[in-house]
Amino acid sequence: MDKINALTISTPEGIEFSRKLAGPVTRFLAWSVDLLAIMAINKLLNVLLGVLGLISRDIAMAATVLGYFIVSIGYGIVTEWHWRGQTLGKRLLRLRVTDVRGLQLRFSQIVIRNLLRFVDSLPVFYLVGGLACLINRRAQRLGDFVANTIVVWSPPVDEPDLDQLLEGKYNSFRKYPHLEARLRHQVSPAEAQIALQALVRRDEFGPQDRIQLFQSIVNYFKSIITFPQEATDSISDEQYIRNLVDALYRPKSTGSMS
């Protein structure tokens, strides 16, 4: 089976939405945070239960043993139930446990995936779970597999500020509204995204690469639609793409996106 990095769910209404799957490394980091949280809770519990020791050392010891056990097993169950699929570590790393079909998580699913940690954590450092995660096409550890759950990652989306990106530059394409309209009609979303991303990430390239990249993109768009020479003559390839993005994403060229 091929490995996938996103799970696409189709609704009965014919709509598709996808969830990015979390990899073993991110999950391991989240687990490390959770481990620290469990240790901190247990430390706090020890201090609190130390008071019990003034009454009876036996009872204090029993409460400590039970407390440690309950916190170790209950931490994942309680937090994932309360925060709808998230523990502290998962919240920090923007991970969430969800049902494999996109449905609501059931309590039994949370309990099972947390109980099966006993096998996933074998022999050390979640080796079994990590290997299962690498082999499984939905990056599920054994507990996820049995509970029908996946762990999804919601990366922060960099919001391109088009106003700032395109501000203050004269757009020579504006003189040709009929060509702009044809451009919007003929350019696919994916093609438009290439132009936009090239602008957003322009500082990530070396000078030579940047020139070559914008040249290639301009040549490609020129093959789709050609603006008159007077509109393109005196502008750089980068400005050409800027004009293009302006025309594609801001047909009326006013205001912000949202």
Binding site: F118, N148, V187
Partner: protein
Amino acid sequence: MIINLQKFITEERPFWNELETVLEKLEKRPELRLSLSQLERFHYLYQQTSGDLAKIQTFSAEPNTRVYLESLVARAFGEIHGSPEKPHRLAPLHWFFTIFPQTFRKHIRAFWICLAAMLVGGAFGGFVIVVDPDVKEVLLPFSHLHGDPSERVVKEEAANEDRLAGGKTSFSSYLMTHNTKVSIFTFSLGMTWGIGTLVMLFYNGVILGAVALDYVLAGETAFLLGWLLPHGVIEIPAIVLAGQAGLVLAGALIGWGRSISLKERLRNISGDLVTLIMGVAVMLIWAGIVEAFFSQYHEPVIPYEVKIGFGVLEFILLILFLAKSGRRGGGKLHRRHPEMNTDDDG
């Protein structure tokens, strides 16, 4: 074609915001029930947002709005097409006296297989001790069982002071947590198509059989029964029940030629697995208390007849509980727990 994003977002955002508000309310309060008109509105907002997502996917590559709408549609999809589980009142007594024994009986075949594995292990352990008594130092994991049973009995019965004084509660909690871990592990090994579960049960049976035969052959049967029965009649069946949960899991993984998908099979048994394991935990809490506070005291402190009688009574009650509790007149079952399925994979 690229749609005019600015116009599109301005026009549609009120719907998205309204849907997000409803979702936040539903997610914060799972028990919340919407009225018919609220439900209709919620469904309308979901459809509207789904339509917007489709438009964005088709006509624009703008990632922010798409990701936002995907997350909104995913959350609404989960609420609308959610599982049949309804929020229900916490009813621990109903769960323990009805749901738990019903679930046990539903998968009774798995229980018999586990019991057989343990009994075969027990017979093997007993046989090995009879054939080669010296092997017990290798076979038995606890050093206090390596010596001569009669010597231990004399020592225990002659003890004047309570060796667990001031430590009974902590010993009890240690037993509870240790046995619960062993049970969860036995259940989890169901992932190995049940082989690991059966090996665990067999191994536990070997230890039990070896210890039992060792004491019987030494003529210390009364001590053995008085020592093991009070807690063992609950603890040992609890481990077998954990194995039963493991085999139920294994059965779902294997499928046995059933036409439903693996995902569906696992979904069907998830509630039963949790019920069985939670039932096992309750049994082990009781066994831990009995073992620390009762089992470790021998004659002359507590007569063996009392201890054996207590153990037998517990065992009868356990059998009656598992066999009869939760049955209605005529053997009909109570209304099932919402998570429980009707599929009998025994």
